[in-house]
Symmetry: D2
Subunit: 356 residues, 4 copies
């Protein structure tokens, strides 16, 4: 099956292939009366845009978004918002080999096995280019949750992690890695460049923190806030793991270490003395920062020849041509932010429906 809609009341549907004429998203259910124009979306697309440093793919895409519906006189009308981004810099001839053989680590074989047929140019629908549409939709979602601030950053590349003591939120926008630690950013320059020059690629970990989320969002038992976030993040291209709060580290803790004790807070709400839970308990937000951690595998497209098979079942050796990110996790940070915004906005509205 093909299933390209995400969300329960605030929903978005994306469409488009890597080398088609355009891609886009239809955002449905957005509250009316919110100020929206292209300029409110573009900065988020620019953050994810390829070709801005040597650490990302050299494909040059302006990623200019166009709003085709749902906005009148600068405000959302409550009707579906159609967002379109034209593809400009396709080079489909790079993919002639890929038409015949399956790239290891890619979705080529899986798509063929499912649909019997695929648009092989740039990975077609399975390309990370689709995430541009999510980022555009995420910019709309942010308007729905003005009380929430969301920040994603890369906390680890190729096994080299940031120093938590050196964490500086201001730093995130100052380097090409969305890295909050200036020292790590410096190290990663060489790390990523070396991998790039070797025709290899690196994995990464992205963390995302949302502050200002009030207690009470989430829809147990089967649309828990953490479950919806897990689906949102695991569905991003190249993601292989998702943690909430302490995540896998919590599995090594004892109950008394993992508890988040409470004391009376200033405004009548409890004040938590720790946040092992990552701001979610029983699938519902607790009022603490919501913390998600996302593992990106190394980009599958590498210049190092790999053993594979052709569509006809013959043995082959394949070296991926085309232009690719040496570390796809870097540009994953804006996508993680967008998915966080989309899930939170949906749950804000869901909560209001039942309990508002």
């Amino acid at each position: 099956m093909s299933w390209n809609t995400f969300g329960r009341v605030l929903r978005f549907t994306t469409w488009g292939e890597s080398h088609g004429p355009a891609l886009g998203a239809v955002v449905d259910g957005c509250p009316p009366g919110l100020a929206l124009d292209e300029a409110a979306i573009q900065p988020f697309l620019d953050a994810r845009r390829p070709g801005t440093s040597k650490f990302t793919t050299q494909r040059q895409e302006p990623d200019q978004v166009r709003i085709l519906s749902g906005v009148f006189e600068g405000r959302t009308t409550g009707t579906p918002i159609s967002l379109m981004i034209e593809n400009v810099d396709q080079r489909s001839k790079d993919y002639s080999d890929v038409a015949k053989a399956y790239r290891p680590g890619h979705a080529d074989y899986a798509y063929d096995a499912k649909y019997g047929f695929r648009d092989y140019r740039g990975g077609g629908r399975s390309s990370a280019r689709e995430t541009a549409a999510r980022v555009a939709a995420g910019a709309v979602a942010r308007l729905v949750i003005p009380e929430v601030a969301i920040t994603a950053y890369v906390s680890e590349i190729g096994g080299d992690a940031i120093d938590r003591a050196a964490f500086d939120a201001e730093e995130i926008g100052r380097n090409p890695f969305f890295c909050p630690d200036a020292g790590a950013a410096k190290r990663w320059e060489k790390l990523v460049d070396d991998a790039r020059l070797a025709g290899s690629s690196l994995g990464a970990v992205v963390e995302c923190v949302a502050t200002g989320v009030p207690a009470g969002w989430g829809a147990p038992i089967y649309a828990k806030l953490d479950a919806d976030l897990a689906a949102a993040m695991m569905g991003i291209n190249a993601v292989k793991g998702v943690e909430i709060g302490d995540g896998f580290a919590a599995a090594a803790l004892r109950g008394e270490e993992n508890a988040d004790p409470m004391r009376p807070g200033a405004n009548g709400s409890p004040e938590f003395l720790a946040n092992h839970a990552g701001g979610i308990a029983g699938g519902i937000s607790t009022g603490q920062p919501v913390v998600v951690r996302v593992a990106f595998k190394p980009t599958s497209s590498i210049l190092i020849p790999q053993v594979t098979v052709t569509r006809d079942g013959e043995a082959a050796e394949l070296m991926t041509k085309g232009r690719h990110d040496p570390c796809v996790g870097i540009r994953g940070a804006p996508v993680v932010e967008a998915m966080m915004a989309l899930v939170l906005a949906d749950h804000r509205m869901l909560h209001r429906a039942q309990c508002g």
Copy 2:
């Protein structure tokens, strides 16, 4: 919002509280003509049943399932299958303290913040007792995917991991920990018992492997097989992390290390030479074993007093009474298996709808 239905075409809806008269699941969309009776479900409930060893809660629940609809003359009719399990051994008086104060690490405060009101007895709806309904539903789902074999096991407790070299699938059913390594099982006896006697609790990691899944299941972009599995697993009580294949470890690999090369296979399909991807690429199964890893935090209910606040915002100290699992992850294994079955069965049907 409350959202108690899971699945897209094979759907199930659960209901019931820890200390209510009963709990249950309605499984909808099951194909007709499958042989089904209570005896086909009961063994899976028995595996998850509490009170079977000193390493699990001492609450004594027979967990006898009753089929109330959807089966005629021993076969499914294609109409909704209603499954009910009566609660027998509630001891609601244990929960008087909990009515007034919030247990750290529990959903108590979050439920109150959301609904303004909660059934505090045994955690009400947020109790892990709800997972009995999932296990019953999962037993039905298994009938839908006869070609698939699913095995879950505990791979780590309290930071102490199994030895992969000692892996023995036969061992899983021979110890009270669903542990595939006899040596680890031996060590865990003392580990878990010590934690229990200290009034503490331990976290755990559960792994689940599904073999026999053909290539082609999954519904990109927003119902990818891995994304649906992530939601299914993260929604289990006490889960804080989910990995597919190499998961977070993949973030430290280079592209050439993480690739799963292919060579021509016996039956015309490619034979993979590695399975870093955990059997899923681009959100679609590849025909390799589907591998999921799930992190359970330590049980939040411990006998060690904890600092907290009351419903009225006063400071309090709380020691959870009631009967609890010293390591909730152990009984998580049958639940992980059930969710794996439910997701795979749903995707088998989804795939057939579009491509069958």
Copy 3:
């Protein structure tokens, strides 16, 4: 496919067969804090209950509802509400002929063609007995829309319509036909009894009016209030037509006749001078009474022998035994009311999610 859940945010799932042990509904998404017990539901079930006059089936079912979850200390908790009604008076032996041959006008053949197999006792899942579960769910939905009053009544039986000039809402509860016109009720006694004695059956029209619905409910373009009502009503057993407002009569009007002019109203809202639209424009409520009209075909089970075929494809003559309503539309009135309540409650919550 089997699809037994209705609604978008206030959802209910029903289960159960005519001759199974029980039937029920799980209502999910209900706001917390509403006063609810069995006594709040039972009167609505009593109104629909069979066996109360000679004008309905003689099957004796107490239809006592039991609440199994979602209510604590007399109030809804916001978690799923499980409602169960046990079947008491099944007489499955009446259905031996039906196991072999298809009753004309019934779903027997269609179910067999779909599922290859069916529970033939009393129609199994296709029995109108399933509507008891809807009526129970509808009683919960009414609590969600306290500002709305819903009244359904039978306006026509066997082609004999009420006199609009004689309309008296008080009369509806005073006769066994939910008839608002005492004169018509008198005529229908003989009409229905004659049909019953002849072993025949009659069709009917049910009207339903909801007052107090504020302007603004409905979710265009594909969950319009009138579209959701149409689905809700057309899905009731034996229904073959649905009209909103003037319905088919509007097709014979000119634009100026069909318009609902407005003038300034007392409270700042427009006052409408007509209601041809039945309280819905563009799929959104206008603040006027919502008016729906529903056509029920005559009961298909009649004592007059009918020409049909057996499961094996042989010609046969069949006379339906068992106990049946001579006019299924009569007991349709409480079901229409319930579905109106369920749709309106869902849309009240949907509206609040986006615009509340």
Copy 4:
């Protein structure tokens, strides 16, 4: 709420306003490998296109569809198909009065009451222009059900019905009314033209017949084939009533008159001797032609001045300017056909998922 997606496994989402830059549909879930290009869609849009005779609105829209995704080398890939139609002939200045006052019979007031704000130009999202997107989506759906033939025609305008004895399917494409009776088409020329010249409008009834639908499609109890058709049709602009088979006429029949007797058929399936049921029993297709009848109210936009109120609550008199259809039901026929195709294609796929 805004809800712009229709369907369960074959889903489509529409977007766009009457006077925005474009409108479109995203069709998701379409099987792969079907031959598709713009030329396969355009004839259906041309049939619905405005400005082709004096009996429809004079707005000139070429309604050229463009496929932006989901098709590769002339075949569907199984990924979302994005269809876009640019608006060319907007004349927004015609709507200055409408910005201030509510047109009786239109959705103006309801949209304002819901969203507090609306795009008043040409009715914005509530314009029947949105149905172009459905017709484009419907053309894709037809590819999914090659075994089915669908024909819609106008059976009544302004109360003047066709003569069933004169029914000639060939005639439907020969007159501007989709009328199967040459005599009626002749009469309607004068009828519609007189209404147009008087600045008035007329209602209409559209019938739609689908042949070739096998027995077994439909998803009881809450996605019955007839219920989904009812929602699909009632959601079309200006529709106020929907009937399946005999519809409201069945309410005046006796059981023995309404039964559809069966006898052994040629291919082992029963042969029905009547089709009062309109091809659907118990919400499942029976193998007979599926017959739906749809009532369209007269166009609300008329040149005759009407009493209304302004946004500020003042009394006003309004004469709708702009260009409008004198009988919106005429161009409704291709839309009814499209919705029939979309519902049937969805149910074909749903059926295969569970029973295929």
